[in-house]
C-alpha cells in the first residue's frame, strides 16, 4: 500500500478520494462538531469542486518532468506491455461499461422535479404602481424611520408578521414555517446574510407589495408563492413589518450610498 502511495498515480488517486470524502461527507459532518450548521452539498457543487480538484491534480503531476513521466508510466505499460494483456482487456470492457452506466444514470426517468436554475435576486423596477399611485423606488427610504417611535413600529410590524408571514417564513425568520416544505422554492430565510441584509428597504417593500405575481418577466419562471400583500396591507403596515424584519434579525438595510459595489450570486 505504502509503495502505491509513493507513486504519483497512487498519490493522485488518494488525493481524489480524500477530496471526494471531504466534500461529500466532511462538509456535512465536520462543521457540526464545532457547533456550525451544515447540510449535504448539492451534486452540482460536488461536481464543480471535484472538477477543480482534478484540474489541480493534473497541474501537479505534469508541472515537473520526472513526476509526469512516472505518472504516465503505469498507464503506458497497461496500454503496450504484452504481459498486461489481461488488464488491457478488462479496461477495454470496463471503460465503455462505465460510460454506459453513467449515461444511463443521467438519462433514466425519475420522479423528482427537474433541477431549477433559478436566479435569486430579481431586478427591481425604477418605479411601481402601489394601490393606485406611483412610487419611485430609486432612492426611497423607509418613512417610518423618521416618523414616530421605532419601538412602536417594531411592535406593529411584529403583530403583522405573526398574523400574515409566520406560516411560511417561520417563528425564527429563517424560512422554516409550517408550510415551508410544501413550496418549491422554499420561503426565504431573513437570517441569511444574503437576503434582506443585501437589499435596500425599498426593494423589500417592492417584494412584499407585489409578491410572486409582480416579479419581472426576465428570469421567469419564478414559481414564487408569495402573495401580493398590497391587496391586504396598507403602506405603513408593510413599512412596519420591514422594520420588524431588520430589528429582529439584527441586519442593517443596505443604504443608497453603497449601491453598485457588490453583487451576490
Amino acid at each position: 500500500m505504502g509503495k502505491y502511495l509513493k507513486h504519483p498515480l497512487g498519490q493522485s488517486v488518494a488525493i481524489l478520494v480524500a477530496a471526494y470524502l471531504l466534500i461529500k461527507f466532511g462538509i456535512v459532518y465536520l462543521p457540526p462538531l464545532v457547533g456550525l450548521a451544515s447540510a449535504p452539498v448539492p451534486s452540482s457543487v460536488v461536481l464543480q469542486y471535484m472538477l477543480t480538484v482534478i484540474v489541480g491534480i493534473f497541474v501537479w503531476v505534469s508541472d515537473n518532468e520526472e513526476r509526469w513521466s512516472k505518472f504516465k508510466q503505469p498507464m503506458h505499460r497497461v496500454m503496450v506491455d504484452p504481459e498486461r494483456k489481461m488488464a488491457r482487456g478488462v479496461l477495454l470492457v470496463a471503460t465503455p461499461l462505465l460510460v454506459a452506466f453513467v449515461t444511463f444514470d443521467r438519462v433514466r426517468p425519475s420522479v423528482s422535479a427537474p433541477v431549477s436554475f433559478r436566479s435569486i435576486h430579481p431586478a427591481p423596477p425604477g418605479q411601481i404602481d402601489f394601490q393606485g399611485r406611483t412610487m419611485r423606488l430609486t432612492g426611497l427610504e423607509n418613512p417610518l424611520r423618521s416618523r414616530g417611535s421605532l419601538d412602536e413600529h417594531y411592535e406593529v410590524g411584529k403583530r403583522i408578521y405573526y398574523q400574515n408571514c409566520l406560516a411560511c417564513h417561520g417563528d425564527g425568520l429563517a424560512g422554516l414555517g409550517y408550510y415551508a416544505q410544501g413550496f418549491n422554492p422554499v420561503p426565504l430565510s431573513f437570517q441569511d446574510v444574503g437576503t434582506i441584509a443585501q437589499l435596500t428597504e425599498s426593494v423589500v417593500f417592492w417584494r412584499i407589495a407585489k409578491g410572486g405575481p409582480g416579479l419581472p418577466n426576465e428570469g421567469a419562471p419564478w414559481n414564487s408563492a408569495m402573495p401580493a400583500w398590497e391587496d391586504f396591507l396598507s403602506e405603513d403596515d408593510i413599512w412596519a413589518v420591514i422594520v420588524f424584519l431588520y430589528e429582529q434579525t439584527g441586519h442593517s438595510p443596505r443604504t443608497w450610498g453603497d449601491e453598485g459595489e457588490e453583487g451576490g450570486h
Partner: protein
C-alpha cells in the same frame, strides 16, 4: 502579398464610408423608414448581427492591444539597447497586419448587417452620431496607413533619429487606434446609458451630441477595454508563439518562440491583475446609472455568468502559474523552488473553489429541502463578496509569488543584504495575506457600506506588496551572479497548451461578459428610449447565448489559425537569437 493584405482594409474603409454616405442626414435619414427590421435566413437577424459584432470586436481588441506592448517592446529595444526586443516588437506588428484586415472585413460585415437588418435603429444612431462616424472613418484610414509605415519602414528606419521617428509612428498608431475605439465605444455605451433627458419622445435631432457621446458608462468602458485589449493581445500572441513553437523545425526557432510565448503570458497575466479594478469601476457606474440594470447584471438572471467567469478566471490563474512552473524546468537553479509549487497549487485550488462557490446553488427539490433553502448553511458564507474578494486577492498574491520565484530562479544575489531583503519580502507577503484574510473575515460582521470599503484595503495591500516586493527584488538582483542561462526552447510541449488555454479562455470570457453587458438592456435597443419591437426582443437565454458565443470563438480561432498559417507561408520569422544570448 502586401497588396493582397491591403485590399480588405481598403474594402472595409470604402464600405464604411459608402454606408455613412448612404445614411447620412442628407440621404436616407430625410426619407421615411419603411421598415424597422430586416430578415436574415436560418439564424435570424439578432444572431447574424451578434456574430458579426463579436468577431469584429475580438479582432479589434487584438489589433488595439498588440500595438500597446509592441511600442513598449520597441522602446526597451531602443533605450535598453537590446536588439532582441526590437525584433520581438516587429514580430508582434507582423501579426497585426493580417489581423487588421480581418478586423476591417468584419467591421464592414457588421455595418452592412446593421443597415439591412436594423435600419430604424441605425438611422436613429446616425442622426445623433453622424459627425463622429465621419471622424471614425478618417481616423481608420490614418490608423491603417500608419500601421503600414510602421511595419514596412521597420528595417529602413532602424538607426538614430530615423528610429526615433519610427517609434513615434508606433505611438501615433496607438493614439489613432485608441481614439477610434473611444468613438465606437460612445455609440454602444449610449445604447446602454443614454443621458437622462433623452426620452422616447425626444427627437434624435434634439439630442446633444456631447452628452450622448460622453455618457455615463463611456469612460468606464474605455478604460476597461483598453486594459482588456492588452490582456487579450498578450494571450493571442502567446498562443501564436505556442503554435510556432510546436511547429518549429530548428532549435533557434524553438528558443525564439519559447521566449515570445513567455513574454505574451507575462503581458496577459500582468495586465489581467489590474483588470478587475476597471471592471469594478464599470459595474459601479452601471449601478449609479440604473440600480435595476445593475441588479440584473450582478444579482439577477445574468448572475450565473459571474460564476462561469469565476471558474474561467480560475482556469486562467491555474494555466498561467502552470506555465511558469513548467518553465522552471529550463532554468538552472530553479530546482531550489520547485518543492514549494505544490503549496501554491493548494492555495490556488482552494481559491478557485471559494471564488466559484455559488451563493444560490443549483439543486434538486430534495437537495433544497435538505439544505433548508437554496443557500447552503455552511458553504453559503463562501458565496458572498467578502469570501470572493479574499480568495481572488490571495490568488493574485500567489501568482505574483510564482513569478518572483521564476525571476529569481537562476540568480545568485551578491549584495550583502540579500538575506535580509528576502526576509523582508517574506514578511511583506505574510502581512499582506494577513490583511486580506482579516478584512475578509471582518467583512461578515459589519454592514454592507463598511464591508465595501474593506475590498479597497485588500486591493491596496496587494498592490503595495507587489510593487514593494518587486522593487526589493530588483535591488537584490543588481549584479547578481547567474546560475546559468535560461535554456530557451527546452520547454516541454505540454506547457504550450497552457498558452492555448489562456487564449481560448480569454476569448470566451470576452464573449460571455460582453453578452452580460449588452444583455442587461433587455428589450431595449437604447435603454428606456428605443424599444426593441422585433421578434428577437426577448433577452436570449444563457444556454443559447453560450452557444452563439462559442460559435464566435470557433470562427475567430478558425480565422486566426488560417491567417497565421498563411502569414507563415510567405514570410520567414524574425528570430531574436534569444537562445544564444540567454537573457530573461
Amino acid at each position: 502579398m502586401n497588396g493582397a493584405r491591403r485590399w480588405p482594409v481598403c474594402l472595409g474603409g470604402i464600405g464604411l464610408v459608402t454606408l455613412l454616405t448612404l445614411v447620412s442626414p442628407d440621404g436616407l435619414l430625410a426619407q421615411e423608414i419603411s421598415r424597422s427590421y430586416g430578415d436574415f435566413p436560418l439564424i435570424g437577424s439578432r444572431a447574424a448581427v451578434w456574430i458579426a459584432a463579436q468577431v469584429h470586436l475580438l479582432f479589434a481588441a487584438f489589433v488595439l492591444g498588440v500595438p500597446m506592448f509592441a511600442v513598449v517592446a520597441e522602446a526597451i529595444g531602443i533605450f535598453g539597447k537590446d536588439r532582441k526586443y526590437d525584433k520581438l516588437a516587429k514580430e508582434f506588428t507582423r501579426l497585426l497586419l493580417v489581423a487588421y484586415s480581418a478586423t476591417a472585413i468584419w467591421g464592414a460585415v457588421l455595418s452592412f448587417l446593421l443597415v439591412t437588418l436594423y435600419p430604424r435603429l441605425w438611422v436613429y444612431l446616425t442622426q445623433i452620431f453622424a459627425p463622429s462616424m465621419w471622424v471614425y472613418a478618417g481616423l481608420f484610414f490614418l490608423e491603417s496607413f500608419t500601421l503600414y509605415l510602421y511595419y514596412y519602414g521597420w528595417d529602413r528606419w532602424a538607426e538614430g533619429r530615423a528610429k526615433m521617428m519610427h517609434w513615434g509612428l508606433g505611438i501615433m498608431l496607438n493614439v489613432f487606434g485608441t481614439i477610434v475605439m473611444f468613438i465606437a465605444n460612445s455609440w454602444l455605451t449610449f445604447m446602454m446609458s443614454p443621458p437622462a433627458d433623452v426620452t422616447p419622445d425626444t427627437s434624435p435631432d434634439m439630442v446633444q451630441f456631447w452628452s450622448a457621446f460622453a455618457n455615463a458608462t463611456w469612460m468606464p468602458i474605455n478604460i476597461h477595454r483598453m486594459i482588456a485589449n492588452v490582456v487579450f493581445g498578450g494571450a493571442i500572441v502567446g498562443a501564436y508563439a505556442a503554435y510556432r513553437f510546436l511547429t518549429a523545425e530548428t532549435d533557434e526557432e524553438r528558443a525564439h518562440y519559447d521566449w515570445m510565448g513567455y513574454v505574451g503570458n507575462l503581458i496577459a497575466i500582468g495586465a489581467l491583475i489590474v483588470l478587475p479594478f476597471a471592471g469594478y469601476y464599470l459595474g459601479r457606474e452601471i449601478y449609479e446609472f440604473s440600480p435595476g440594470m445593475g441588479q440584473t447584471l450582478m444579482g439577477g438572471f445574468m448572475s450565473w455568468l459571474w460564476i462561469i467567469q469565476a471558474f474561467l478566471i480560475g482556469v486562467l490563474f491555474l494555466a498561467g502559474n502552470y506555465y511558469l512552473w513548467v518553465g522552471m524546468g529550463r532554468i538552472p537553479g530553479a530546482e531550489r523552488f520547485t518543492p514549494y509549487t505544490k503549496y501554491m497549487l493548494v492555495v490556488l485550488v482552494a481559491g478557485v473553489i471559494v471564488w466559484a462557490t455559488p451563493h444560490t446553488m443549483i439543486a434538486s427539490r430534495a437537495e433544497i429541502a435538505a439544505m433548508g433553502g437554496t443557500y447552503h448553511p455552511f458553504l453559503g458564507v463562501l458565496g458572498v463578496m467578502s469570501a470572493k474578494n479574499t480568495a481572488v486577492n490571495i490568488m493574485i498574491l500567489t501568482t505574483f509569488l510564482s513569478f518572483l520565484l521564476y525571476r529569481r530562479a537562476n540568480k545568485e544575489p551578491v549584495v550583502e543584504w540579500a538575506k535580509t531583503g528576502t526576509m523582508i519580502q517574506g514578511v511583506l507577503f505574510v502581512v499582506c495575506a494577513g490583511i486580506v484574510i482579516f478584512y475578509g473575515i471582518y467583512g461578515y460582521f459589519v454592514t454592507a457600506i463598511v464591508r465595501i470599503g474593506f475590498s479597497v484595503y485588500q486591493v491596496l495591500a496587494v498592490i503595495a506588496t507587489i510593487f514593494s516586493v518587486l522593487a526589493i527584488d530588483i535591488a537584490i538582483g543588481r549584479g547578481a551572479k547567474s546560475r546559468g542561462a535560461i535554456r530557451w526552447g527546452q520547454m516541454p510541449e505540454r506547457s504550450q497548451y497552457a498558452l492555448f488555454i489562456l487564449a481560448v479562455t480569454f476569448t470566451w470570457l470576452m464573449g460571455l461578459m460582453g453578452y452580460a453587458r449588452s444583455g442587461i438592456r433587455q428589450h431595449w435597443h437604447v435603454w428606456e428610449v428605443v424599444r426593441d419591437t422585433s421578434e428577437f426582443a426577448a433577452t436570449p437565454a444563457l444556454g443559447y447565448a453560450s452557444q452563439i458565443i462559442s460559435v464566435c470563438v470557433l470562427i475567430f480561432f478558425g480565422l486566426v489559425a488560417f491567417i497565421f498559417w498563411v502569414g507563415g507561408l510567405a514570410e520567414k520569422p524574425v528570430l531574436s537569437g534569444v537562445g544564444s544570448e540567454g537573457g530573461d
